[in-house]
């Protein structure tokens, strides 16, 4: 069984598993990192959104064999450390707006929001929001929008 090595939330990890197992299951089932959630396994709901080398992606759609040993994977658990703080400004904005209801989609929402704000270089326009595909079945979208632009102003 092949061994896969990559950086996960700042630490080097190695795992023995077949190449084609998607990263989401390597994280959740083998490494016990449960912040990224399963919502579809089809790269649609975006509940598992995490970062690879600082960019948002969905580990449910990436076979672990595609990772290089220098690839840096950041899940919600590792997000605060990327800015050297207890909480990332986007997480703080999320708390202030009391966004979460059931909370299940929120790690993915926050990871997508951070990447989208970085990509756009600041607060999002209505058109930019259309590019955020993450589902929130509780319907917290109104507060998500408010939190993203609050968080953007502090990133």
């Amino acid at each position: 069984m092949p061994t896969h090595t990559f950086l996960l939330n700042g630490k080097r990890v190695s795992v023995d598993v077949a190449d084609d197992v998607r990263l989401l299951w390597v994280l959740r089932d083998l490494l016990g990192v449960t912040g990224p959630k399963y919502g579809c396994g089809l790269e649609v709901c975006k509940a598992c959104t995490s970062h690879i080398n600082g960019k948002a992606f969905n580990p449910c759609a990436v076979p672990v064999g595609q990772l290089n040993e220098d690839d840096e994977i950041t899940t919600i658990e590792g997000l605060p450390a990327t800015v050297g703080r207890e909480l990332h400004p986007m997480q703080e904005a999320w708390l202030e707006a009391d966004v979460a209801q059931c909370g299940y989609c929120q790690p993915g929402q926050i990871m997508a929001a951070v990447a989208k704000v970085r990509q756009k270089g600041g607060a999002l326009t209505d058109a930019d929001f259309d590019e955020i595909r993450n589902i929130c079945r509780c319907g917290t979208y109104a507060r998500i929008r408010e939190a993203i632009n609050q968080g953007a102003s502090r990133m």
């Binding site: 396994g41 649609v44 960019k55 299940y104 989208k116 079945r137 917290t140």
Partner: protein, 792 residues
Amino acid sequence: MTEQRRPSPYPQTHPQTPVEPHPEAPDAPPGPGRRGFLGWVLAGPTLAVAAPLIAASTGGDPAGAVIPSLPEPADLFDLGDLQDLAALPTSHLVKVTIGADGTASFALPRAEVGQGITTSTAMLIAEELDLPLDRVEVTLADARPELLFNQLTGGSNTTRSTYDAVRGAAALARARLLDAAAKEWGVARSQLTTKDGVVHGPGGRSAGYGELTAKAASSTIVRTQVSLKPRSAFSVIGTPRNRVDALAAVTGRKQYTLDHDVPGALPTMICRPPTINGTPKAVRNRAAVLAMPGITDVAMISTGVAVRGRTFGQCIDAVRALDVEWNRGTEDGKSDDDVLAELRKAELPLLVPKVSLLAKTVEGSFTFRFRSNSPLETGSAIADVRDDGIEVWSCLKVPIAFAEQVAQKYHLPVSQVTVHVTQGGGSFGRHLFSDAALEAVEASKAFGKPVKLMWHRTDDFRQGRTHPMATSRVRATYLLGNVLTYEQRHTSISTDFRHGLGEMLTAMAAKLPGGDYTFAQSIFMLTSNVSYDYGVTDQLLNEVDGGFNTGSMRNIYSPDVCTAQELITDQLAKVARSNPYAFRRKFVKHARGRAVLDKVAQVGNWGRAMPAGTAQGIALHNEYKGWCACLVEIDCRPQTVQREVRDGWTGPRVTKVVFAVDVGLVINPTGLVAQMQGGIMDGIAQTLTSSLHLKDGAFLEGSWDNYFYTRQWNVPPDVQVIVMPSTSDRPGGAGEFGVAASMAAVACAYARATGHVPTEFPINHAQPLGFEPLPTVPPIPPSPTDGLDHAF
């Protein structure tokens, strides 16, 4: 994006209005307005107090104990009252304990699925105990069979049914802590006050609850009585508070079922049939699948073929590889039109009203398609079936019914079935049922090993529960400024109530209004009513076809019934040469309804000039002892409707929502606003975009890019929720309350913008399918491999 603040729904911090220390009332019997409360101090090393879940109040009969007669039972006695009442004779104790660290702990016998009840419950305890909110810990209780009906989460009923008991238990704890301090210091209890978890006495003496808890403890069970704080003294209830689990949610630390690490419980999935409720006949390649990488077990269970493996990814591969012979399902060959024909055949006739020939008649017939109540977390459960008992972890809203079902099936005493209620990733009706947990038990039994079972998203849409398809026919008559009659005939694919609520109703049947109705008819009567003075009103339900997996969906009948009612109300307004707001204002039954209508009309600038193809809509709803109104603006112009979003449904866009809500007594305005915002997103989806298409015995939708729940491109840029000042001493319901008025207001706005009254919901259902359906064999699609190409 704005929210109306009354008071500010979420300030940056929680500025506590300076509150006077809570003075201790003399030990006099409770007077009028002070609710006396009986409870027990339990034996133990630190203080533990207990109260009956439904308060045996000495301050009068509990709300709803008097059952009114027909007509319009829901006006006076609704589903929540039934739940309250069902709990009365069987109520047992809920317990608040004070730890040596001064924190209060409480295990809530309900399920938290996002509706915020752990936060609102912690607020009730903080209020009566004079303890900071962050020192109250509310967890979810395991199944407690002795609670019987008192452990069912549904019908927006949690706060209504636990309001007195939770406060009572906290008040008992506080009284006992005061007694301990009084004894310790040799002073009268009336000289003591409490603030922020500290008892203060004469001469500047003080002691934290943590210091007092062992002294306040009892070695025997003591019956005792306390008074609850009057509403005028509240300093926590009614103030905006953020969720107690928010930090856990945003850091990924909040644990849902699948995040629990139970030793040996390996990932498990089910290969499911190609049509609804098919069953497995034979597995043709078991050995080959068992030999696949990571797979440890393969076995037939009642609903399909279970596979267990090292990772869920390998289970997905195994499910796809299985070659299974299937028995027929329960709806094989049926498509949408067949079901609609069944409903039409079952529609009860509308009466010919005995009114003047001069009266004008307004009629409508509306169809509501199947909708999925799937939350974002798919069905999931961990089960460990051992010789000495069964242990289950799952988000169950009726855990007792599940425990009893399992005990009966496997011939165990119910005491050998342990059910841990886990935090839910949404519910919307799904978690009233225990489908995944029952399968997990079956699979664990078949394998002789613990399992962590997860439904695939595609299965969750196709084999999971749905809100039943329904039709609603309405006929109203109008003459000389009066609505003389209003009749509504709601016809539905039957809703499954076999989750505990049914049993509750059986037990209560003799006491129900009318007495001889079916479960469904009783629930319909208890949840449906007409918000307006429409003369002789008559609403009836008929149900057919029990072959679908159904359930409620953030309401049972109300959103559909309300949408039909409100569209007809707009038609009546037209006949009366009035406008939708003025007409509703004139006919609304209650001043509370008029107040919410006025509020949205004023804040939403009702009647403002708008371009052709856009319009406002207004609607009203009354349920859960509350009133709410919704005003929306919709844009149906071609440039908006034809917006392109990859694999998304755009269509008409709601551009603004103003929503006013009066729930009686507000516990947490921040949480209430959140629930209304969520209900608004559901209402928009149900009118415009979200449905399941049935074809040849199977639903076509298999992904969130097929089932068009509201996404960012459908979200109104302007959403304002206004919390009305409390109008009652009792809390109403919140979780489901926002859907009906929103759904109806969007429908009314669409009719006014397009000049065409919609008769089918969602309005996109009959349009060409917006996606390519996934195959049904294998039942689930593979996960993509090109995720890195889409990184941003």
